[in-house]
Symmetry: C2
Subunit: 351 residues, 2 copies
């Protein structure tokens, strides 16, 4: 099957190539009737312009990219939808691309900029620290929306929107401490040194230290799972270990709601009640926390607001309307059914 090109269309229409090009790209300098005719032929023949050729030649693309790190990001769909709305409002096109765990999102970005003549990039998720050499090579505006934390250095070379995981994590632990819990286990994530999981773990430690409560390493569990650390499966497995360890605790802080669901299941299977025997707290604020039984106490990230701000910030940067900004969004502690006062009976073994 022969590929049909713009030349074929021009020949068929008895016009020049540029006229066809003008018709396709809604150029003003073209007779309406000519355009109608050309478009008609295009429809009949089923001609499809070759995007590689277009990208190669085009100078102005009105296109941005959204790079998503991690295929299982639970905020994925809502964030994308919000960004897309903003993009359409600005009459831009948008390409979305997943970045594998082992890939460097900056490399992917660099490649894509060349290929598609991008005007801007949004990075969703991923590491919160980057090679500044590579950062310097990105010659289009970009915004990191890590749902993580702020990189301290290079404040003037990029923008980002983030939740301060370190602080928010402390907020949750303080809440549990205020309820009277002193033996709080944590299900964290330890696959990458610079992940949000580590920040949340640090927040946990900080909160305990501030209250002068000893940090018991036997209460710290770190999921090691490259592919999908924040799974119910992993939460379940960790909680099983925790329960079997014989170490006393009255509350569990799972650093992701998915993990918390697994934890709840394990506790339930052990014949214990939530929150009467053990309190469980999550983090993220995703839908499942609202519909699970018991409903999950969690840190709810302002995903929608962040996504909207991220898109707006990027367009402001593209239009040269503003300098780089670093915006921290406060998250909300949502108190639901899965947490309560500690049960002294749970400490009988330990004393």
């Amino acid at each position: 099957m022969e590929e049909i090109t713009i030349k074929d269309i021009a020949r068929r229409c008895g016009v020049g190539i540029s006229t066809v090009s003008r018709a396709i790209n809604n150029h003003p300098d073209i007779n309406t009737e000519t355009k109608q005719m050309v478009m008609q032929v295009i429809r009949e023949t089923g001609y499809i312009p070759n995007n590689s050729a277009r990208n190669l030649k085009r100078t102005d693309a009105r296109c941005i990219a959204v790079l998503i790190k991690g295929i299982t990001n639970p905020f994925f769909s809502s964030v994308i939808q919000i960004i897309e709305t903003q993009v359409q409002k600005k009459k831009y096109a948008m390409v979305m691309q997943h970045v594998e765990a082992y890939e460097d999102e900056l490399d992917v970005a660099l490649e894509l900029i060349k290929e598609k003549r991008l005007r801007g990039i949004i990075f969703l998720g991923g590491a919160y620290r980057h090679d500044s050499q590579k950062l310097a090579k990105l010659n289009v505006p970009f915004v990191f929306s890590t749902i993580g934390t702020v990189q301290d250095e290079g404040a003037k070379t990029y923008s980002n929107t983030a939740v301060d995981d370190y602080t928010e994590s402390q907020k949750m632990v303080n809440y549990l401490l205020d309820l009277g819990h002193k033996r709080i286990a944590i299900i964290a994530e330890g696959s990458a040194a610079e992940s949000v999981g580590q920040l949340r773990l640090e927040g946990y430690k900080k909160a305990l230290r501030d209250r002068e409560i000893e940090i018991d390493e036997r209460l710290i569990y770190e999921v090691k799972d490259q592919a999908d650390p924040y799974s119910m499966q992993n939460g379940y497995a960790m909680a099983k270990q925790l329960l079997a360890s014989g170490v006393d605790f009255t509350a569990v802080f799972a650093i992701a709601d998915f993990l918390a669901v697994g934890v709840c299941r394990a506790i339930h299977e052990a014949g214990l009640r939530i929150p009467e025997d053990i309190s469980v707290a999550g983090y993220d604020g995703i839908a499942i926390g609202e519909f699970y039984t018991p409903q999950l106490t969690t840190i709810k990230q302002p995903v929608e607001a962040m996504a909207e701000k991220t898109a707006k910030l990027l367009f402001n940067l593209i239009e040269g309307k503003c300098e780089h900004e670093h915006i921290i969004f406060p998250a909300e502690l949502v108190e639901r059914e899965s947490t309560g006062k500690p049960n002294p009976a749970m400490l009988s073994r330990h004393g």
Copy 2:
């Protein structure tokens, strides 16, 4: 900032363009030392080949595409990972692209074939019926993996892998009937006429008719939600309506596990027990069904097996090793905690 091209690299190295090209593309006809030197310069300068130009020129691409319809497909991540493994085994590249609800996946495919010189396509999800004119234009092998049903016509023009939703749905309803339920409500999906949701609804009706049980329209609820019909939110809302309607029922069949979770929550809030008062059955077999309390009885789709077979089938087609196939995968009814015998007390209002 000037874009650096292959010419610049050639000049810097004091070699010809083709030599650089050969170095990049691992061509055999090149001196090892020359190659080393070229690669070194490329690394130093941070040169990145322009993919648009490469795609334009290239004839053999060893690349396939995976088009995913619907951003919220719950099988998404596991399916992709399995396909990717197969693709890597064959030393192919893979591009993934999301297709919006309002887009036609065939149009997206047509465009992508031209742009990237694809060798094959996998369609994940989406409608199970397509414009045969457009199908004919796809001049590369493709496999639909609808997790839906088989299109009857054009058996020789394409391949697909599927679960027979019509039959599997009957399986679940028959199971509930065997438990003794006669008043079974269904939470279905009615946004598109040719969706899997409609097939599952038809299966429900068929099963009831086969047992000569009257179909009560008051027990049929159809979610109308373009963006994301299979959400917990929607299941919850529908179940609330059902409970408020005053119409008697002893079981609910939600045609997706996410819907079932919402249904469970609504029943729980109404002060009723699952399964003692009302049985709830789901469909899909996703992780949440295993970790929810109560654990969900569901139809578990053989997602992994399907994904693997889909990829293998595509490569066989590409290599001309086989004709088009239509493969139906049997799903498994997993009996868990959320279903049991009907509670006669629930029928008191009705008689």
